[in-house]
Amino acid sequence: MTYALQTRNLFKRFGGFLATNDVTLNVAEGARHALIGPNGAGKTTLINLLTGFLEPTSGSVILKNEDVTRQPQHRRVKRGLARTFQINRLFADMTALQSVILAVNERRGIAGHWWRPVSAHGEAIDDAASLLSQLGLLEVAHVPTKDLPYGKQRLIEIALALAAQPSVLLLDEPAAGVPTGESRELFETIARLPREVTVLLIEHDMDLVFRFADRISVLVAGALLTEDVPDMIAADPRVREVYLGDAGHG
């Protein structure tokens, strides 16, 4: 089995608080892997460690058999690791099209070009437009992000990650705050991603998780409780206990 993304004995300490406790995670190539766990289990912290947004206290992160623990975020993106954020981090004054062009330019390696105008880089614009149409954003392509409804903004969040054409995509609660009807649509978009793209997903909606994932890891208090196929996870009494014991937040 080849792995797209691995961690080895990963620890992250914030002062006296151990947010990530000896996590050794293996995400297989092409997997639809979900990361679940009660609030405060350290799921987002783990994503932040994987992407380089945070530096681990100890342990290592391995992306496609290469140790990237000391690499800054932007290098990891160049190696095919992209993410979305749980809380939108967008470009408020840019239109949807401009935002995605910005991301496409970066992937195409032309974002540092400083002489010819953005509009002269036709291929990047075509790429961005086709991504917008894939996500059903074409009709709002010229609307400033800040004027778009939340559901559409959420889609831009995903478009920005997809613009990098990642081989490993980390989705941090992509449907958070999106109305139920729209979240189904959103997951259909994610489900349509080519199988070569490895997806690691954090999600609270267990229906979605069990329909989407082929592998689930359960994180509790910063440590991995268990990892298995969805059916086994659903039957695991320890997992039930974690969720029933914390039913109010599940």
Binding site: F53, L90, F91, G112, W114, P117, H121, I125
Partner: protein, 316 residues
Amino acid sequence: MTRRDASRWHPAEYAFWALPIVAYFVFPDHLALLAQIAIAALFAVSLDLILGYAGIVSLGHAAFFGIGAYAAGLLAQAGWGDPVLGLACATLAAAVTGFATSFLVLRGADLTRLMVTLGVASMLYVLANKLTDITGGLDGLQGVEMKPIFGQFAFDLYGKTAYVYCTIILFVMFWIARRVVHSPFGLSLQGIRQNAVRMPALGTPVNARLVAVYTLGAAYAGIAGALLTQTTQFVSIDVFSFSRSAEVLLILVLGGIGSLYGGILGAVVFMTVHEYLSGIDPLYWQFWLGLLLIVVVLFARGGIMGTLRLASKVRA
């Protein structure tokens, strides 16, 4: 995608750039002031590159203006009085200084950047004051003699050559800056200003971009400083002063940040009002200038450019 491409020149822009030509004929007695306006405008454009586009706040932008001014002055004093050569050397000196100090502004938030930029400029001020043998200290740098431009156009008493020279340099540098801000590099700077946290997740080497634009902004400021030296044939130590850093920030805010034109409009209005007010009320003109700035900042969001944009939208 049938939208107006912002990188194409708007008809209003052609009209705008006809104004300096008109001004030459309409105000033949004020060419010295007009040259000063062009220099202030270029200086404001240089600040706009780093503040308006990349979002780096600075209270010490005079550091690079001063480096350019002294570089051009010292070169001319040493007998290398060719203006174009002076500009080139001043640009290089300011760019090197900008590059070297850019690493100090990468870290930290706005407040840290204000302090760091302020600190760099005041250190240079003290240095210029201390190195009296080279800079002339508080007396200023004397004996700056400029040769004719291209060996052809000597600086005259009426300031004709100076005005045309400054305006052409302003236009050329503006044109280059305009290309830069509409390029993919310019777009990525706006991305950094709007959401610096997101950019690395797109694969952007944020620090490298900031170093590049800070160096560019410094080079631009150096050119403005060199123009001041060459047109006045003198360097005063106040090229490094805090008030010069503060003034260029006022000019830019007055005109509107993030449009390049804002800096130019701000310079025209600020310098004209300054000249007019100090003429009619030599004692209290700063009071009225302050009042104007407060009114603009409170009631005309986005400065002069913001107001013009709003007006053109309302009409359309």
